[in-house]
């Protein structure tokens, strides 16, 4: 089995996939770092102070103004109200949620990439794991070895898990290393609030407590890893079912993007919460953002994702071990 996994990893590495992904991450992190830097400068100029309390107060006033303006949707209003309460809570408890530093940037980066960017990277690896063997014809050589078919597929699945780990890990390392050049490498122990839960329009702060940023990051990256695995498994299934890598990527891309769009407009379509793509923003539950559909919780989303992944895994193995190869 170790030999088989070694083979699969060798192929992934020699196709230069991991290298390309690391390069994409590095470029994007640099871009975001620059954007973040510009944003901080702008805020500083506008408010004319570097004091975060003043900044936060300004933000609260901004949010209130937007709330009072006419013509904004009910959903958006709800979201703003929750935001407002959260910002107020930070202010009241003397916590700077935006304290600069590489760890804060990492947090921002993972929260924004968990829904689309990270799944896309995983998809690039998982999409051609099986389909490229089928379209290249090498599947015939692979399946005529004295190795059972499920073992071959299992080695590919393990390779997918390893690559996903590599991707999440490299996102963490690169976002820390690159943003640190600008923002400094400190801030691991910054206390952050978590435990928000949302009931209707109210932000329930009863369970809110402080945890150091490193712990917070650990949780968020854990969730990001989980999401990546689920997306990887779904892509893996498509890769087994479809010969064309391009088609696999197309379908997966459509699903992921539709998820991002749906999240902002499905609040009245309740059964949409069983779709995997609206459940990808797991980090929102930690930072206390309103979920796309009422009644969704962290454990609910994780259950939905896990179920999708499990079904995909069963389908992959069933089809791969049974089907005729032409």
């Amino acid at each position: 089995m170790i030999n088989l996994v070694y083979n699969e990893m060798l192929k992934i590495v020699r196709k230069k996939r991991l290298f390309i992904i690391a390069a994409i991450v590095a470029v994007l992190v640099s871009l975001f770092t620059y954007a973040q830097l510009k944003q901080i400068e702008t805020i500083r100029e506008r408010i004319g102070t570097t004091d975060w309390r003043t900044q936060l107060q300004q933000q609260i006033i901004d949010t209130q103004n937007r709330l009072n303006s006419t013509g904004i949707s009910e959903e958006w209003k709800k979201f703003l109200k929750i935001r407002l309460q959260q910002q107020q809570y930070y202010l009241d408890n003397d916590i700077n949620p935006m304290a600069p530093g590489a760890p804060t940037f990492m947090r921002m980066f993972i929260e924004n990439s968990i829904e689309l960017f990270l799944p896309l990277l995983v998809m690039v690896i998982a999409a051609d794991l099986v389909s490229s063997e089928a379209s290249g014809g090498t599947i015939k050589l692979l399946l005529t070895r004295p190795v059972k078919r499920w073992k071959i597929l299992m080695s590919k699945y393990i390779a997918m898990i390893l690559s996903t780990s590599f991707i999440v890990f490299s996102v963490a390392i690169l976002s820390y290393a690159i943003s640190g050049i600008v923002f400094g490498y400190g801030g691991w122990n910054l206390p952050l609030l978590t435990g928000f839960s949302i009931q209707g329009e109210e932000l329930n702060t009863a369970a809110v407590h402080l945890i150091p940023q490193w712990k917070y990051l650990l949780i968020e990256f854990g969730l990001a890893f989980f999401v990546s695995l689920v997306v990887g498994t779904l892509t893996f299934m498509l890769s087994v079912l479809i010969r064309s890598t391009a088609a696999v990527m197309g379908i997966m891309l459509a699903a992921l993007i539709s998820g991002a769009i749906l999240s902002s407009m499905v609040s009245s379509w309740e059964s949409a919460k069983y779709l995997f793509m609206v459940n990808l923003r797991l980090t929102s539950y930690i930072s206390g953002m309103a979920p796309p559909i009422d009644g969704m919780t962290l454990s609910f989303s994780m259950m939905v994702l896990a179920t999708w992944a499990l079904v995909a895994l069963i389908v992959s193995f069933y089809v791969f071990t049974k089907r005729d190869v032409y």
Binding site: Y6, N7, V325
Partner: protein, 303 residues
């Protein structure tokens, strides 16, 4: 002689259509067995069933005594194969490709890889990427890959496809030497009769999912060989020939008779000359695949 691959009454349905209709044959140790048939006759489907890529609807395939369906890993261990084109990983070198497949077979050492590389004569280019290989080199690397696990049965689908004449001859000699010296059973498929004729000991002729004939090559060809007589006047010659041998008909202004032996030809020739017939040419012709087909299937053409 020991039988290495035994196929019994194998069928394959796709949907309601029966595409392979009950094949039975067996391979002996040290022989080259040819699979001859036009495109679409079911050669490749049959080969895919022999190597476990397609599950037969019914029937059994056993390799060195192991049932392919029930004891897959044990049975497949004795098979080396190339199905259709030798498709390897283009982004790996030849050596890496071989290493890759060696890792999947228990007991293949570095030494063995070196051995097969030398056997197929790829020493000079083995560390280059497969992307840069010519078709002939890929074909050879494919064979190297098939030989890695020291198989007892070697299955090659159209092994001379895309090779130049020198390459074809080399491949032929190579396959013969594997059968004669290493005592492998080799199954070769082709749609070219000339190729099968030069390479194989026995041949199975397939058409529309059935084997219509299994025989030794000499037997089959002998039976189907024809003699063409270019003679003037034709009618007189025909009367004489009818008495001496079997006349089949006329083609392109020549009389066609069944080829029996060289003695018959000499005898006939003597009679014709005695009768004053001018003989400008006597030619023994082996049947083309098309002729053989029309003959064996009673009118079915290659397509």
């Amino acid at each position: 002689m020991e039988e290495t691959l035994v196929v019994q009454n194998v069928r394959k349905n796709i949907g309601k259509k029966e595409i392979i209709k009950g094949l039975s044959f067996s391979l002996k140790k040290g022989e080259v067995f040819g699979f001859l048939g036009p495109n679409g006759a079911g050669k490749t489907t049959t080969i895919r069933m022999l190597v476990g890529l397609i599950r037969p609807t019914s029937g059994t395939i056993s390799i060195c005594g192991y049932n392919l369906q029930k004891q897959f890993t044990k049975a497949i261990q004795h098979i080396g194969c190339i199905v259709e084109n030798p498709e390897l990983y283009p982004y790996l070198s030849g050596w890496e490709n071989l290493e890759h497949f060696a890792r999947m077979v228990p007991g293949v050492t570095m030494h063995r890889i070196q051995e097969v590389v030398e056997l197929v004569g790829l020493q000079n280019r083995i560390y280059d990427l497969v992307r840069t290989y010519s078709l002939g080199m890929r074909q050879r690397l494919g064979i190297a890959q098939a030989l890695l696990g020291k198989p007892t049965v070697l299955i090659l689908d159209e092994p001379t496809n895309g090779l130049d004449p020198v390459g074809i001859r080399e491949m032929r000699q190579f396959i013969r030497s594997l059968a004669e010296q290493e005592q492998l059973s080799v199954l070769v498929s082709s749609h070219l009769l000339s190729e099968i004729q030069l390479m194989c000991d026995r041949v199975a002729i397939m058409s529309k999912g059935e084997i219509i004939r299994i025989d030794t090559v000499e037997h089959l060809l002998q039976e189907q060989a024809r003699t063409y007589w270019n003679v003037v006047p034709i009618n007189t010659a025909k009367e004489i020939l009818i008495n001496e041998t079997t006349v089949i008909g006329e083609k392109d202004g020549a009389i066609v008779t069944i080829y029996e032996s060289n003695e018959t030809i000499a005898r006939c020739n003597a009679r014709l000359i005695e009768a004053g017939v001018l003989v400008s040419g006597i030619e023994r012709k082996l049947p083309t695949l098309e002729d053989l087909f029309i003959e064996l299937t009673g009118g079915e053409t290659i397509d």
